[in-house]
Amino acid sequence: MKLTSFLMVIAVLAVVVSAVNLFSNLALFSTGYALTDQGNVTLDIVSILDINFTYNIINWGSGSVNTSALDAITLGNWAYMSTDTVANTFNLRGSTVPGWVNQSRGLVLETNSTERVNITLNVNRDAFRFLDNSQGVSPASNFLWRANQVNTDDTGSGSSDGESGTCTGVGTLNMTTYIAVPYVPTPGPTTSIVLCNSTDFAQVSNELEIDFAVNISRNAPTGPKNVTITATVAKVNP
């Protein structure tokens, strides 16, 4: 009888201890233990697409088209200016006309993006009206561009301008012939011209120098001609 009572007490104690142990383990679930063998990890990757003109003004000053000598080819005189070292010529078809100031540095565009980007260009003025006074002339006036990504720039200021390897998009960077920047009343990547469809973003290869040229017919209305060049950035299509 005494043994049985003793065993009864021991059994009750065992049940109590086991119950306490079980509930203490249950408490672990509220402190971070997984309920299943499957966990989820959510990873948020933030990309920044950003470009900036670090050199943003080309100012040729005041000048005029030399009309004293007719051009046999174009039946008129016109001036041509560019920011590259090859064709810094004023009034290409006439004699030298003082006034317009030589500019040998194009606009410098830097990408501060965290991935490769697509860059487009447009201009906010219609050259036909702005420089040709809406009269058909030959050659038609235009705002023209070409780019370079050469480390040594026109002004010799070293790495402040183009950097080699910036445009990685094959065949998209126009580096030879000047071509027109499209006139876009409302800027938008679908109507602008592609400057480069894939640019690198490393610190040593994230700058392009964009040379500009302009030809001005003698029909150009006098007065200031301020033109805004807009560069728009977009994500590279995979």
């Binding site: 142990n21 004293s68 500009f212 805004t228 950035v233």
Partner: protein, 66 residues
Amino acid sequence: MVEQDKVVVILLLITIILSVLSVVLVFGADSPGIREITKKETVTVGPPSQGSIELVVEPPAGGVSG
């Protein structure tokens, strides 16, 4: 006497069951393997950048107006 034995046996069985449950909880629940990774991409696009070309056209030097 026999009834008390039965109670003791039942209590011991309950003890065993509770212990087994405890062991299962400790070793069974602690397996937080990562099976799924959800990648979310947020793209922040900066505003267009602008540069300018400035020049002033004066009256033609040759005296001929367009």
